[in-house]
């Protein structure tokens, strides 16, 4: 059992949860604002479970909070996809759809993990993620197959984010499940939704990599962490 594998799952949830919470108070409609904040909250809850277990297994006294607030960008192990900036609502929903489509398959596989604590977290999280995937899929279909403007924006969001899909299916010994094996199920769900959304899947499968290994994060992660970590770093004794 790899602590790094747990940190990867926790960091994906943490970084995307923080990204989505940036929308709070800014989303195009009240219902969307509430939904994004709710999904962000699910991710922060999942972060506490994954990073909490990572800290326990590591045995160095680190908690979910110390892992979240005192590591620098190069120690993060999230996918490059989730650190990409929100940009417009179309990009945010496309990023969510591509991530949810992978996340659902990854968690479903992890519900069968031999480690009971890992399987317990996956069973809890996949129930929440089922709702996330349903919503982001509906949004991509509605906006892709919407007006001329919304279609154009969704196609441009897909073109922009597609190069970050490949990394989700790369794998090494730190992973808690075989990521490459998730690809057919991802392609089936995402492909059907993109067809229905009248969007064209890019032909190039070039993939940016380096997030989950920590070798090369994009410049966006450091800026995000600066905002997320400023309080506990400046006031390490602060309590609720």
């Amino acid at each position: 059992m790899s602590v790094n594998g747990l940190i990867r799952l926790g960091d994906n949830a943490l970084v995307l949860g923080q990204r989505l919470s940036e929308w709070c108070g800014h989303a195009p409609a009240l219902e969307e604002d509430i939904a994004l904040a709710n999904i962000a909250l699910d991710f922060i809850g999942q972060t506490q479970l994954w990073l909490g277990l990572a800290g326990e297994r590591e045995g160095l006294g680190r908690t979910a909070d110390t892992l979240a607030y005192t590591r620098d960008a190069w120690d993060f192990r999230n996918l490059l996809m989730v650190e990409q900036p929100n940009r417009d609502f179309g990009v945010t929903m496309m990023r969510q759809f591509l991530f949810d489509s992978w996340h659902f398959e990854a968690l479903t596989a992890l519900t069968h993990h031999g480690d009971v604590e890992i399987s317990a977290i996956a069973q809890k999280a996949v129930k929440e993620v089922t709702y996330h995937r349903e919503r982001s899929t509906d949004a991509v279909v509605a906006l892709g197959d919407g007006t001329e403007v919304s279609h154009k924006r969704m196609q441009s969001a897909l073109d922009r984010l597609w190069p970050y899909v490949g990394e989700m299916f790369t794998g090494d010994a730190d992973d808690l499940t075989d990521m490459a094996a998730l690809r057919p199920a991802f392609d089936a769900h995402a492909g059907a939704a993109l067809d229905e959304a009248t969007l064209t899947r890019p032909t190039s499968d070039f993939a940016h990599q380096g997030g989950k290994t920590g070798v090369r994060h994009s410049e966006h992660l450091g800026h995000m962490l600066a905002v997320m970590q400023v309080l506990p770093r400046n006031y390490p004794d602060a309590t609720w």
Partner: protein, 155 residues
Amino acid sequence: MVTTRASVEEVWDWLADVPDPEIPVISVVDLGIVRNVAWQGDTLEVTVTPTYSGCPATSIINFEIEAALRSHGIENLSLKRQIAPPWTTDWLSGAGRQKLETYGIAPPQPAGGPEHCPLCKSTAVEKVSQFGSTPCKAQWRCADCLEPFDYFKCL
């Protein structure tokens, strides 16, 4: 002074008076999140499961359970968090479902949407958003009485 240990049944009765902080008409027992009550030697062990993993009410609920049990004289208390099997709306009690409906929140249905408007009982209802005012609820609207209402999502 002779002290007697409270029975597990008494403790369940006390917990049935602890309200959910977000939906105060139902108790933590109605909600199905108290999974076990047992004595381990001199320590009362209460096992609680979260509804949604990020639900901010979870820590308030633990605080209120502790406060209630302390007020009944429980000194040695251990609150255990259990996440497996994960909480499901199937664990809502029948009484809890009825109280939700009376309060104006449509109880969860396996079909994935409310049976009818909790206010006027019309079946002409439509989903506004899969996410609502708390993680456990969705926003729906009645096409007849035109009132928006919360639906407790099936999980």
